[in-house]
Amino acid sequence: MTRYFTEDHEWIDVDGSTATVGITDYAQGQLGDIVFVELPDEGKRFEKGDEAAVVESVKAASDVYSPISGTVVELNGDLEDTPALVNDDAEGDGWFFKLDMADAGELDGLMDEEKYGAFVSKL
């Protein structure tokens, strides 16, 4: 399994044609206490860059854009009752949704963990 990162602070785990999407630990730290995550409907189809989810911290609502194109095949139902999972384990149990990828070529040019770490260190 390969993990990719975007400059918009999302991570993508790729397993075959399935991509699991979440926000990074850096992002949750900047947002602070997360109180609600609005997830898309299963079966929804996204183009890369479409609004896919809304993450609400105590102080603000932030849109999460789909980092790649694909169809939503699974949601993290645990976030409904426990949105703080995103604070506790952003890059694990706090995942948002899984996509059936439309075009694996869109992964080209995304960062790996090392490059993302260097990117964040300059912010």
Partner: protein
């Protein structure tokens, strides 16, 4: 991931403080006396009201709850501290303020409003009658001390200078810091350093001394809790703040929790819940219209405001409790039964002490009674809500005679 509604001028979306957005100029934010103090304690600094201010330290939720159960220390040095001197300063201020300023005795304070000629609210403020020998520079008899919002303080000074007689001196004390210590244990912590503050009651103030530092302390605040606001020279702010933080009850609290605390307390925030298009009657701040002033009229916008008070306003500021878990925030539309927009949400968020999303909104008076079911639309999604009496969390002020 990007912000839903980015604030103008923000450098990066993660630092967009949507709830805390103020009129920030393009110029570099100024630094307050405690700037280094906040950074050394892990405060996350954001531009606010033209200054760099701490939005949080350990986290808004934890800071909010700590303030409700112990004592939170807030730096509010961005606020404008003004002293008015000269014969009849009280009567001159009454041209713009609808409160009974003349009746204030030394060491007494009241909440008031700065009004425009149409009765719109230019700012909300605290006004105090100072005793002789007060610590704000050259002390005259009958001087008045005013604290105004940071984001509009220079506009306020311009308005006041234009309408108040030339013989009245307005001293903007930019060299002073302002702290707030709020929460049920604030009195224990502060009284250990400054004996005598426990004798103050809600909305009373006095001069105190801490190791030779002249303090002006009032029992007041913006959280709904018991607590104090402390004005002191900026060059003494760091050492005094360190001494406060050494008290076991006290933790530093950022602007994020200040906002959630005041929202639960039902207290409006200028620039969000109040603005020049809103009148005191619409804002449900009728208590700020003192009886003598209503009878005598003669304050800015009096004709309009008093007619509205008599005949009823079209809309009113109310509290909302939102169904479900998702917060409804400033800018959301209030809808009528047909789905037409008839009002707006002006503040909102998850209330840590209530455990639910809450909001303030302006709604038609027919929808303003507590218990009324309403709908709110945000980003195309409809939320159900109920009008609720404010405050959402009971005030715990220590009042005279209690």
């Amino acid at each position: 991931m990007k912000p839903g509604r980015p604030a103008a001028g923000s450098s990066h979306w993660l630092f967009t403080e949507d709830r805390l957005r103020e009129e920030v100029t393009e110029s570099q934010p100024a630094l307050l006396p405690l700037d280094a103090w906040h950074r050394a304690r892990g405060g996350r600094m954001v531009p606010f009201a033209g200054y760099e201010m701490p939005v949080q330290y350990e986290g808004i939720m934890a800071e909010h709850l700590w303030t409700r159960e112990s004592a939170g220390l807030f730096d509010v040095s961005h606020m404008g501290q003004l002293v008015f001197s000269g014969d009849g300063a009280d009567a001159e201020l009454e041209k713009l303020l609808p409160g009974d300023v003349r009746a204030l005795k030394a060491g007494r304070m009241r909440y008031s409003l700065l009004l425009n000629e149409a009765g719109g609210i230019l700012d909300d403020l605290m006004i105090t009658r100072l005793p002789e020998g007060h610590p704000f520079g050259e002390a005259g008899a009958d001087d008045l001390y005013m604290v105004v919002n940071g984001a509009v303080k220079f506009d306020d000074i311009g308005t006041l200078r234009e309408h108040v007689a030339d013989r009245i001196t307005i001293n903007h004390m930019e060299d002073r810091a302002l702290l707030a210590l709020q929460g049920p244990k604030a009195v224990d912590a502060l009284a250990r350093l400054v004996p005598g503050v426990a004798d103050l009651v809600f909305m009373r103030a006095g001069a105190f001394d801490w190791q030779g530092v002249p303090l002006w302390i009032s029992r007041s605040g913006y959280t709904g809790e018991d607590g104090f606001e402390i004005s002191l020279p900026g060059d003494a702010a760091t050492v005094f703040t360190d001494a406060l933080l050494e008290q076991p009850e006290v933790k530093p609290i950022g602007l994020g929790a200040r906002d959630s605390l005041r929202l639960e307390a039902g207290l409006p925030l200028y620039g969000h819940d109040l603005d020049p298009e809103i009148t005191p009657v619409t804002a449900d701040l009728g208590f700020a219209l003192s009886k003598r002033r209503r009878e005598e009229r003669g304050f800015a916008g009096a004709d309009h405001i008093l007619a509205e008070r008599e005949n009823g306003a079209v809309a009113r500021r109310v509290g909302l409790i939102i169904d479900g878990r998702q917060p409804v925030r400033e800018g959301a539309d209030v809808l009528d039964g047909e789905g037409s927009m008839v009002g707006r949400v002006t503040s909102g968020g998850v209330a840590p002490s209530v455990g639910k999303p809450i909001a303030m909104a302006y709604v038609p008076v027919a929808m303003a009674a507590p218990g009324t079911a309403i709908t709110v639309s945000q980003r195309g999604k409809v939320h159900h809500a109920t009008v609720a009496a404010m405050p959402f969390v009971p005030h715990r002020y220590v009042r005279a005679g209690a």
